[in-house]
């Protein structure tokens, strides 16, 4: 057994060093930075487009000073309660001219700014003109008029009558939304990371095939050790990659405003943060090893780079299928879909990571990890046998019945 482990680690060490000690690895390591840079350039472009329109939108209310004051008071009261996504333009009140209707149309047609809606006329019969057929801003102005009229009839001034106190209170239990967000985060991030890293395993055996080293390895080491060693070597590369970006992320996180951390506080896994982190690492390991073993097995059958290239599509589809399966499980926790995704070995790490977010039980994770480990071993054994049969042309007596069949 120790000999097997030693041989496995020899292969793993060779693959790890051969991958990491190359200029290409630096490119691979910094690939997210490149993606990020392209994304940032795109975002900046979009932001500049957005900023050019920002601050150039107004809604107008043409009203006498007393009504205007009431409208502003109502706006101050209601606006914060309206979702920020609504993006309501600033309210501007103007005194009525001789012909308020013409004045309103002039304001609506202002070529220098966007005016989606204008209110004029008495508050009990407000006239609203708007350009958009389904203008919510016009409805907002109507609501302001209603509120201002109520305030007027109650003989209320512009000042606030109540003095609300706002206090933030921690929930005693994780919210459904927080659990769901944590589950979604787990599945998506696991998928992205394995998509990026496990796919590398496809071409690793091709190296040995093309430079004929496979004969040396096969003579000295069981093929299962070769497969596992290569998988561990590539896993080491993946861990190095993730450690690098985790370190970068932590340092960048320290520079972010507190609001950002508050935003993340909504992510609340049911099993608790430390347990979730532990399980996330374990499920990442399992996802990598399982998918990596499949890719290694499939890739080992390919004889040329072209064949490997052709394999990338079915492999991506396979990964997407597992991702979709796991996502379906998040949406229906406890359903048969979720159970199937948790049991099916190649979607199990994703689905179980999602389960860690939505359920506080530990025992299913222990069972799942053992189950996934078994499948890692099975996949490697099957991969090695397929390689022995297909590439080394060695079925051996045990497979004779199969050939005859």
């Amino acid at each position: 057994m120790s000999r097997l482990i030693r041989q496995t680690l020899t292969i793993a060490r060779r693959d790890f060093i051969a991958t990491v000690m190359t200029p290409m690895f630096l490119l691979f390591l910094l690939a997210p930075l490149l993606f990020g840079s392209f994304g940032a350039v795109g975002s900046l472009g979009a932001q500049s487009v957005g900023q050019s329109a920002e601050g150039k939108e107004r809604i107008y209310a043409i009203a006498a000073p007393a009504d205007a004051a009431r409208l502003r008071a109502a706006d101050a009261l209601i606006r914060p309660a309206v979702s920020r996504e609504r993006g309501l333009p600033t309210l501007v009140t103007v005194a009525p001219a001789a012909d308020p209707a013409t004045q309103a149309r002039t304001l609506l047609s202002n070529p220098d700014i966007d005016v989606p809606a204008v209110l004029y006329g008495p508050l009990d019969r407000p006239q609203l003109i708007h350009a958009n057929p389904q203008s919510t801003t016009a409805r907002y102005l109507a609501a302001l008029a209603e509120q201002a009229l109520r305030d007027s009839r109650a003989n209320l001034g512009a000042g606030r009558l109540s003095r609300p106190t706002f206090a933030r209170v921690e929930r005693s239990s994780t919210s459904l939304g927080g659990k769901s967000a944590a589950g979604f985060f787990a599945v998506v991030s696991l998928f992205v990371v394995t998509l990026m890293l496990a796919g590398q395993a496809v071409g690793t055996m091709a190296e040995e095939r093309s430079n004929k080293v496979i004969e040396v390895l096969a003579a000295a080491v069981p093929l299962e050790s070769v497969f596992l060693g290569k998988l561990l070597g590539m896993f080491g590369v993946a861990v190095l990659f993730l450690a690098f970006w985790a370190a970068v992320g932590i340092n960048i996180g320290a520079l972010l405003p507190p609001d950002f951390a508050e935003g993340l506080s909504g992510i609340a896994p049911a099993i608790g943060i430390p347990g979730f982190v532990l399980l996330y690492i374990l499920y990442f390991t399992m996802a990598y090893m399982l998918l990596g073993a499949v890719f290694l097995t499939v890739g080992a059958q390919a004889a040329t780079p072209r064949e490997i290239q052709m394999l990338s599509l079915p492999i991506t589809i396979f990964q997407m299928a597992m991702f979709g399966f796991a996502l379906a499980a998040i949406g229906r926790p406890g359903s048969w879909v979720a159970l199937a995704a948790e049991i099916f070995p190649f979607s199990s790490p994703f689905a179980m990571a999602a389960r860690a977010a939505t359920s506080g039980e530990w025992w299913p994770h222990l069972v799942a990890l053992a189950w996934q480990l078994l499948w890692v071993a099975l996949t490697i054994v099957i991969g090695a046998r397929l390689f022995r049969r297909g590439v080394l042309q060695s079925a051996g007596p045990k497979f004779r019945w199969f050939r005859r069949g």
Binding site: A18, K212, A218, R400
Partner: protein, 306 residues
């Protein structure tokens, strides 16, 4: 029959690729400490046999035993192997490549590195210790791989066509290395179709043709399969001499070449002297391994054709 006294034994090994029996019931016994040659023409099944003996591929039928283990892989740390298709990682340095191959066979990596430097120096490749494999010539890379197959000081060394691709100087070096390994106590099995190497190195050998073992024994045993030849040069090459010589006599190099009869050459010489032809030159030629090989393989081809 398999025996613990053999470093390697094989009994009825069969390997089929599709419907073709590439190896067809080969038996083999290699004594401990011997240099054993597996000879055969191209496509005879030598490499497939070696791969089965090492456990790289499984036989369809038959059994083999390597260093007392019925599963050859169980003895892999005590075995060295140079495959026919040479393979090294091009990005590795020569020293690392040798240490890596040793590590696969259980040798500590740091020990392997130290030994690799010494071995490369001894092989006249000291300048290449830290050179990457892709920078080395084919012959040098081949020698690096050879050193990698012996760095862990194996008890059993298998070399598949080790001389192919080497220049005469490196062939000499390789022969010296094989002798050194034998002197160290290793058992060596190598395949070749170059008879000169087998003749110089092998204690025993087998000849494989058409997937079957056609001969097994010493080099002398192989030579003994063919009768000795005599080359006679008369002092007076007058006509009519052929009538006094054996039936297969043929003119060659200013004289006559013929098979030595079982009764000896004395009777023929007496007749020639009495007839006045005299003797200007006479040499008795032992047939070479090459001749034996050609005859054995020729017979196998004839059998296959029939």
């Amino acid at each position: 029959m398999q025996d613990e006294n053999w470093a390697l034994s094989a009994d009825g090994l069969v390997k089929r690729f599709g419907d073709r029996r590439v190896v067809d019931g080969i038996d083999l016994q290699v004594p401990y400490g011997a240099v054993y040659g597996v000879l055969g023409p191209n496509g005879a099944g030598k490499t497939t046999t070696l791969r089965m003996l090492l456990g790289i591929i499984e036989p369809d039928e038959g059994h083999r035993r390597l260093l007392g283990r019925s599963a050859p892989r169980d003895a892999s740390d005590r075995v060295g192997y140079l495959p026919e298709e040479r393979g090294l990682y091009p990005g590795m340095k020569a020293r690392e490549a040798i240490a890596f191959m040793g590590a696969l066979r259980g040798l500590d990596w740091s020990v392997g590195r130290k030994r690799a430097a010494v071995m490369l120096e001894q092989a006249g490749l000291g300048h290449a210790v830290d050179s990457k494999i892709r920078k080395l010539s084919k012959g040098m890379a081949q020698f690096v791989q050879l050193l990698g197959s012996v760095v862990h000081q194996p008890e059993f060394l298998v070399l598949d066509e080790p001389f192919s691709g080497l220049d005469p100087v490196n062939q000499e070096r390789l022969e010296a290395l094989i002798r050194a390994e034998r002197d160290r106590g290793a058992t060596i099995l190598f395949s070749t179709h170059v008879m000169a190497h087998a003749e110089r190195l092998c204690d025993r050998l087998c000849i494989i043709a058409g997937g079957k073992r056609r001969f097994e024994g010493t080099v002398d045993d192989a030579r003994a399969l063919l009768p000795m030849k005599a080359h006679y040069v008369p002092r007076d090459p007058a006509p009519g001499i052929a009538a006094l010589l054996p039936g297969d006599a043929q003119e060659e190099r200013g004289g006559w070449r013929f098979t030595l009869p079982p009764a000896g050459i004395e009777g023929i010489l007496v007749r020639l002297i009495d007839a006045g032809y005299g003797i200007s030159g006479l040499s008795i030629e032992r047939p070479g391994l090459h001749d034996a090989f050609v005859r054995i393989v020729g017979e196998a081809d004839a059998e296959k054709a029939a």
